[in-house]
Amino acid sequence: MNTKFNFTIRYKIPLLILIVIGLASVVASLFFSHDHGMRFWTNFHMNTVYIIFISLAGMVFLAIHSLGTSGWQTSIQRIPEAMAMFLPVGLALMLIVLIGMWFNLHHIFHWTHPEPGDTILELKKAYLNIPFFSIRTLFYLGGWIFLTRWWRNNSLRQDANADLKYFRKTNTIAGIFIVFFAITSSMAAWDWLMSIDPHWFSTLYGWYVFSGLLVSGTAMIILIVLVLRASGYMPHVNKEHLHDLGKYLFAFSILWAYLWFSQYMLIWYGNIPEETVYFVERLEGFNTLFFINVGVNFFVPFLALMTRNSKRIPIVLAFTAVVVLAGHWIDFYLMVMPGSAGASSKIGFIEIGMTLGYLGLFLWIVFRVLAKANLVPENHPFFKESLEYHTNY
């Protein structure tokens, strides 16, 4: 079965439009910003981290399924693979943030310029300083890029040669990746997001961000699968595959809500000021968004995807995926903005435009990668299972 994706003009035009909107928004944000380009920098950082995590989620999906000796996902696995290939672009974008830090172009992170007498930041100086921060960022992204590249090359070699040794390699790569990921994803969350509120801390934070990554990644996979399917590209993807993806979206949304609740309730209950200040800031300055965040990200997928049938209807899946991606964008907004731009942050055309630009860029890269190889890994030993996929329940 040789299906190749053609990255034609039909796809390129809308994506180019999105990218142009993004660039225009970037320029506008630099001009319409009264606070040393804060509007540009905070949005840039927020969108960069969000898109990096969505991209990374593709590899997480692959690794977990590989270690679980799962077969059904092989029909669609080229899509999360392509998503993970965006990471080098993510690194380039993150480098811009780092350069901004080194040349004092932005104040996203208050710990880069601590006030004298701030004992809390003094105590964290060994960790929160620009050189170490930069090395860590490069380490995370470097490691992720190396491991996803390794996976991709192995996967492509399997296309050419059905020898089982490539299949066995996938488990090795998956195992190394998942351990490296488990440690670095939490650290990246602490560095890139939690340290924006440097006087605050939460042990759950890394896992909370991870759950958001799982949800957003799954939503993105669903959308890309549905788009390809609608264009006639993946005829073997049947209701069963969609059902399973829908189950993931449902379950991971509940997982995210559970972790959101755990973090919030425990800090609320203990009522210790150095912890509650985080939520007080959000409840007072970002009240509507705060409740939209938990409401939309829990109730919409929960109610929309509860019944068995709903998870088999493409339009319902697509709608829920879009809502979830927007909802988790709000989650990132609430993680980044209050501690950096604070009261001056807003959601306007510039914010939406920049996000659209990132989406366009991301999908451009994903489609380009998809076009480079067979859409299905036909030599994968579990592929036949996925091709004739039907289940008892």
């Binding site: 209950y269 019944t307 008892n392």
Partner: protein, 182 residues
């Protein structure tokens, strides 16, 4: 009063069972029941069973549980005997979530189990007629109806169709009133 007659037969394998049922359906033979040692894939569809409404019972049970849980806690802490616990508000929603969630699950689970047992006429002390002791071992039993036509010609006809599909132990029975509603 004479019990209506029916024919009992069995198969050794689930594939044989499913294939044969298709043949029987094509020939317009009435299938009263199929009894198996484990749930056979595809049987539901073949026999025209609609998907169970047990899920809806579970959902309703859960909704009742949630309403009861949240409602009761709210009433106790806001109306009946408000207490200042650690300075938290009387309607402390985060505190109420755990119990509400547990009540939801508890009510949903019990609702479904009771619905299942009642609808299937099962329960402690239930004494149904056991058609074959080997159903729970390795036999796939089919009970075929005669649509009221108990002439020898019809009976022989049905028996020969069953024979053709590879059924074994084909016997005419009349020992129990087979209720349609179970």
């Amino acid at each position: 009063m004479a019990q209506p007659k029916y024919i009992k037969a069995y198969y050794d394998y689930d594939e044989k069972l499913v294939g044969s049922l298709k043949v029987l359906k094509e020939k317009g033979i009435e299938i009263l029941d199929v009894l198996t040692p484990f749930p056979v894939h595809g049987l539901d569809k073949l026999l025209g069973y609609r998907r169970s409404w047990i899920a809806r019972v579970g959902f309703i049970g859960g909704a009742i549980g949630a309403a009861c849980g949240l409602g009761f806690q709210a009433w106790v802490f806001v109306k009946d005997y408000p207490l200042n616990i650690g300075g938290k508000p009387f309607f402390s929603l985060p505190s109420f979530i755990p119990v509400t969630f547990e009540m939801t699950v508890l009510f949903a689970a019990f609702a479904m189990v009771f619905a299942f047992l009642i609808r299937s006429k099962m329960g402690p002390g239930a004494h149904p007629f056991i058609h074959d002791e080997k159903i729970t071992d390795d036999r796939f039993v089919v009970l075929v109806g005669l649509k009221g036509n108990t002439s020898d010609k019809n009976i022989e006809g049905v028996k020969s169709v069953l024979n053709g599909t590879g059924a074994r132990g084909i016997t005419l029975k009349a020992d129990v009133e087979l209720s349609k509603n179970y």
